[in-house]
Symmetry: C2
Subunit: 296 residues, 2 copies
Amino acid sequence: MTNKRLTIGLVQHACSVDPAANIETTIQGIRTAAERGARLILLQELHASRYFCQTEDRGNFELAETIPGPTTRRLGRIAAELNIVIVASVFEKRAAGLYHNTAVALDSDGSIAGRYRKMHIPDDPGYFEKYYFTPGDLGFTPVDTSVGRLGLLVCWDQWYPEAARLMALAGAELLLYPTAIGWDMQDPADERARQQDAWLTVQRGHAIANSLPVLACNRTGHEADPSGQTDGIHFWGGSAAIGPQGELLAQAATDTAEVVVVDIDLARSGRLREVWPYLRDRRIDAYQDLLRRFRD
Amino acid sequence: MTNKRLTIGLVQHACSVDPAANIETTIQGIRTAAERGARLILLQELHASRYFCQTEDRGNFELAETIPGPTTRRLGRIAAELNIVIVASVFEKRAAGLYHNTAVALDSDGSIAGRYRKMHIPDDPGYFEKYYFTPGDLGFTPVDTSVGRLGLLVCWDQWYPEAARLMALAGAELLLYPTAIGWDMQDPADERARQQDAWLTVQRGHAIANSLPVLACNRTGHEADPSGQTDGIHFWGGSAAIGPQGELLAQAATDTAEVVVVDIDLARSGRLREVWPYLRDRRIDAYQDLLRRFRD
């Protein structure tokens, strides 16, 4: 089996309250990654803005945009200019009163290769996403691009083995997660460490169970709670490239902007699956209850 | 929410070619764990014998026994004597020509609380399990015991998020894996390290995704290939107790017999699920294709 090498880039940064400044920061990171050889670049979740879901504020719907729209057009031009694939994250306005948290793949000719609308929507104090985002209705369907079949997923999906498996079963060659996750600094240091390690580890588990590389790009920096009720979120960065045996190939720092560039051999997944043939032995005759909420 | 503390024990050892000697080694380990406070003790996979699946040899069917049978009666008496629960692993003879790889929970009154027949059966050079074991037909059903509801699984199941999830959805309070896995020493050291780390990590992933503790008990020692065709298997030990955030609570050495005893708070799973409500947001409306072999 021949190799299929792909150099990937992760663009991790803090976000200001100024969307125009954020997109410039993002594009600067994209250019840096491309100069270092990246042909596929993953951006962090909702990179155009602060993580506005810390409060339920109707005014934030003004941040949403259509697809195609300003962000996908701008990034599509960059993708074509640099001959790369960019996976962006957009607060998608689908219709009046109907919004999604959407990952978009911009192909190397500048076109929109496809999109994924976040299927699992969290809602916790500080992450009020159920107010803003309708759960996705496109299913777990990979997007074909010039660099391969991409299993686009978003943040909270990271915790669901079902999402990773469905992408793998549909032939995804790697899994990609734009992310916005951080600490409540009221939690003690050992709890914060367990949380960040769990975040990385559950994704390493998806890589292993499916013999696929996994990419996660998270934002960094502290963002205040606009309501003033909490101390805000300290986004923990740590953007990671994980190999198909779950091995950590590269990881960004916790608290600084960073562009990670890593070379991956996509053909290694096929070789691994010959040695570890998990897909051969799935007991699909006995999995029906995965479709139940609880087995009670 | 109150605590629900449970001290668990893992009995890891090498196996000789003499089943009578092996059961004495196992019982000695059980007594050691119980003396150190363990109320639930997990044994390694097929602890009564060498890992006979290295070759396809009809003579090995003589190692099988019924349930109830000599091993479950012997261990049941020990469980009652020590007032503990023992999870054993038995080469089950169900009928002439019909065998399973079965985990059995022996309750603290000496009775058989229930059994789990290994659902995912591997078959690779050195692990010819499809010759010996019919795939389980009891489904992924936990066993109720005096120390809690146990999600009994076996070895190759470790690599399947579906198995862990189904046990969690059925109310399992912890996941337990009797195991027999090791290295082909022909593989280079870096590959061996990745394999052992993947084995631990994918189980840590199950712990995280389901907010459940996970126990794995593996054998240690080198066992020659009776056919002489390979260098045999070097079982990598590393029996592990994992907390419900995926944190490693304790792990045995790679190459020596060891009894691991750890105190676990089973109530922590419930507290974690309030902070990380994964079960709330599963997209059961979009998981149908988990019942397919491949989405092609």
